[in-house]
C-alpha cells in the first residue's frame, strides 16, 4: 500500500511526458510539411544568434519594461526547474527533499527559488495589469479576441497558481519542520514563505501534512498540465525560440530570395541560341513548379516553424506602418493565420492519413489580398521580432502567387509593370529621354 503514491506519480509522469512527446512529434511533422530550405551554413554565427537572442534575450530588452519583466519570468522558469527535478525524484522514490544533503548549497538553492518565485509572481501580475488594466494597444488589436486573448491570460494564471502553490507548500513544510514531523527533513531556507508560515501555525500536524501534500500534488500536476498546454498555445515559444533564432535568416534584410525556376526560364528566353519552337524535354517525374505560395505547404519549413514560434506579443504589429495607419494588415496576424491553417492541414492528415483536399488555402481563406497589398516591405516587423520571425517573407511569397499564377495585381501595379516591360521605367516615358536631365538646368 505504501507504494501507491509512487505508482500514481509514475503514471502521471509517464502520461504527462508521453502526451507532450506525442504532440511535439506532431508539430515536427507539420513543420516538415514545408519546403526544404538550406539553413545549415555559417554555424558559428547561428549559435551566436541563438545564444544572444534566445538565451540572452538581447532583442527583448529593446523595450526595457517588458524586457526586464520577461527576463525575470524566464530566469524563474529555467532555474525553478531544478526544483522540479527534485520533485520528480521525490515523487518516484517517496523521498522528501532528496537534495537536502547538499546542505548550505541546498538552502541557497531553495532560498533562490523562493525569491525568484516571488519575483515571477510580481512580474506576471504586472503583465496582467499591462494587458487588462492599462490595456496596451498591441494586446487589443482585433486579432486578439477569443482564444488568443484567453490563451495569454491562461498562461499568466497558470504561472500565478504554480508559483503560489510552491510558496504555500514550503510554508506548510516550515511548520512541519518546526513540529519535528516524521519524514519532514529539516532543510531549506525560506526567505518568502516564512511570512506565509505563521498563517498556518495553529494547524495540527495532520492538517499541515494534508495541506503540504495537496500543494505538492497540485503543483506537479499543474506543471504536467502546463507542459501539455504548450502544444495548443502561443506559449510554445519557450521551446521553439531556440531553433527559431538558430535557423533564422542571416542575410541582409533587404535581400529577397530569387526564384530559381524563374532564372532558368528567363535564361532560356534570353538565350539567342535557344530554339523557340523546340519541344521541351519531357521529364516524367517533373512536378510543375508553382510560383510563390498559396498554401502552407508552399512555404518553407522555417516559415512554418516561425508560425509555431510566434507568441503573439504584437511588437511587429505595433511598428507596422500599414497597421499604424489603420490598414487591414497585421504582421502578427499573418503568423497566427499561418499557424491556424497549418494546424488545420495537420488535423486533416491525422484524420485521413494523408492530406485530403478541403477546398481551402492560406491565401483568401485565411489571408486576404487586401492585407498583402498593404505591405511596404519596410522590414520593421522583421527587425522588431524578439526571436527573429519573418512575416515579410510570407507576405512576399503570397504576393508572388497572386501576381504570377493569378495575374491578380492591383490595376495600377499592372500598368507600372507594363511600363517597365515597354520602356524600362515604372512610368510611361520614352526610353530615349532617359538622359534628358543633364541638359535641363
Amino acid at each position: 500500500m505504501q507504494y501507491i503514491p509512487n505508482i500514481i506519480f509514475a503514471i502521471l509522469l509517464l502520461f504527462g511526458v508521453g502526451f507532450f512527446v506525442k504532440n511535439i512529434r506532431k508539430i515536427i511533422r507539420n513543420i516538415k510539411l514545408g519546403k526544404d530550405i538550406d539553413r545549415t551554413d555559417n554555424k558559428s554565427e547561428r549559435w551566436k544568434n541563438m545564444a544572444n537572442i534566445a538565451l540572452g534575450q538581447s532583442k527583448m530588452v529593446k523595450r526595457p519594461v517588458s524586457g526586464l519583466l520577461h527576463i525575470i519570468v524566464y530566469l524563474g522558469f529555467i532555474i525553478i526547474n531544478i526544483e522540479v527535478l527534485e520533485i520528480i525524484i521525490d515523487g518516484l522514490f517517496g523521498t522528501h527533499r532528496v537534495f537536502a544533503p547538499l546542505g548550505s548549497l541546498y538552502n541557497f538553492l531553495i532560498g533562490s527559488f523562493e525569491i525568484l518565485a516571488f519575483l515571477v509572481l510580481i512580474s506576471v501580475t504586472i503583465f496582467w495589469i499591462r494587458r487588462m488594466i492599462i490595456k496596451i494597444p498591441r494586446f487589443w488589436n482585433k486579432e486578439m479576441k477569443g482564444f488568443p486573448k484567453n490563451d495569454a491570460l491562461y498562461i499568466l494564471y497558470f504561472e500565478m497558481v504554480l508559483m503560489s502553490l510552491f510558496l504555500f507548500m514550503n510554508a506548510a513544510d516550515i511548520n512541519l519542520q518546526n513540529l519535528d514531523a516524521a519524514h519532514y527533513t529539516k532543510a531549506g531556507a525560506f526567505p518568502i514563505s516564512q511570512f506565509i508560515a505563521p498563517l498556518l501555525s495553529g494547524l495540527s500536524e495532520a492538517s499541515l501534512i494534508l495541506l503540504e501534500r495537496s500543494a505538492w500534488w497540485i503543483h506537479i500536476t499543474g506543471i504536467f498540465i502546463f507542459l501539455n498546454y504548450l502544444y495548443y498555445s502561443k506559449h510554445l515559444h519557450i521551446l521553439l525560440a531556440f531553433p527559431n533564432t538558430f535557423y533564422a535568416n542571416l542575410e541582409a534584410k533587404g535581400k529577397f530570395k530569387n526564384n530559381k525556376t524563374v532564372t532558368k526560364e528567363v535564361k532560356l528566353m534570353l538565350d539567342p541560341d535557344a530554339d523557340p519552337y523546340a519541344i521541351p524535354e519531357e521529364d516524367p517525374d517533373a512536378v510543375v513548379e508553382k510560383f510563390g505560395a498559396s498554401d502552407v505547404t508552399d512555404l518553407s519549413w522555417v516559415q512554418l516553424m516561425n508560425a509555431y514560434t510566434c507568441t503573439e506579443c504584437g511588437r511587429c504589429t505595433s511598428v507596422c506602418p500599414a497597421n499604424l495607419t489603420g490598414k487591414e494588415l497585421s504582421p502578427r496576424n499573418i503568423m497566427m493565420k499561418t499557424r491556424d491553417r497549418l494546424e488545420e492541414v495537420g488535423k486533416n492528415i491525422d484524420k485521413n492519413k494523408e492530406f485530403k483536399d478541403d477546398n481551402k488555402q492560406l491565401l483568401n481563406d485565411y489571408i486576404t489580398p487586401e492585407e498583402l497589398w498593404a505591405c511596404t516591405t519596410c522590414n520593421a516587423c522583421v527587425e522588431e521580432c524578439p526571436i527573429n520571425i519573418d512575416p515579410l517573407s510570407i507576405i512576399m511569397d503570397l504576393r508572388q502567387f497572386l501576381v504570377m499564377e493569378q495575374s491578380a495585381a492591383p490595376q495600377e501595379l499592372n500598368m507600372m509593370m507594363t511600363n517597365i516591360e515597354n520602356n524600362g521605367a515604372p512610368w510611361q516615358y520614352n526610353q530615349m529621354d532617359r538622359l534628358n536631365w543633364k541638359d535641363e538646368e
Partner: protein
Amino acid sequence: MNVPTMAEMLAQGKKPEILFWVGAAGSYDDRAKKITRAFVKILHEAKVDFAVLGVEESSTGDVAKRAGNEMLFQMQALMNIEVLNGYEVKTIVTADPHSYNTFKNEYPELGGKYTVFHHTQYLKKLIDENRLTINNSKLKDKLVTYHDPCYLGRANGEYESPRTLIKKLGVKYAEMKRHKASALCCGAGGAQMFKDAEKGNKEINILRTEDALETKPEIIATGCPYCNTMLTDGIKAKEKEGQIKVLDIAELIANANGLV
C-alpha cells in the same frame, strides 16, 4: 552639364572609375532629377572619373520583384547584367536605395557581381580620401533632421554614412523619435509608390511627416528619391512648404559647397 556615357567612354577606349546608376526616378521624375544633377556636380567637384549608361539604363526590376513579379524582375536583372558586364563595370554608385539594395543583394546570384555604394557611402568615402570637403559655414546652425530610407537602413544596416555627412555641414541636428532600426517607413516601399494605399485611417507619409515635424526642423534630409516625394507631399499636406524643405543629402552638400 558634362555627363559621359559608358558607350562614349568605350569608344575612347576608357573605363571610368565608377558607374553612376541614375535609376528611373533620378532620370524622369522632375524632383529627383534635381538630386541627380546635384550629385553629378559633386562628382565633378571631386574630379571623379564616372559615366552613366544613359539610354542603355533600364529599370533594375526591384519594384517589379516587390510587387510579386519575379519573372519581370529577373528579365530586367539579366538584361542589365549583360549590359553592365559588357562594359566590365566594377563599381556602381546610386542615389536610389532600392537600386542599391537589389544590386548589392539580389544581382550577385544572377551573375552581376559589383562593388555597390549608396551615394551617401560614396560621398563619405570621397571625404575620407580627401577628395572632397564639405563647407560647414553656409548651412551653419540650420535645424536638420534625417529620415532613414528602409532599404538603406534596416535592409542594409547603413545608418552612419548619411549622419556623418549631415554633421559635417555644421548644422544643428535632431533625431526623430523613431530612427535608425526603428525608423518608420515613408510609405512608398514595396511598390506602394505606384498604387493607392489600401483602406485605412491615415496615409503613412503623413504619419512620418508628423514624426519629422516633432523635431521642429527647417530641413528634412533624406537619401532616397521616393522618400523625398512622400515627405514633400506630407509637408505640403501640412501646409509647411514655406518653412520646411525636404532635401537629399547630395543637394545639401551641393548647396553648402555653392554648386547650385
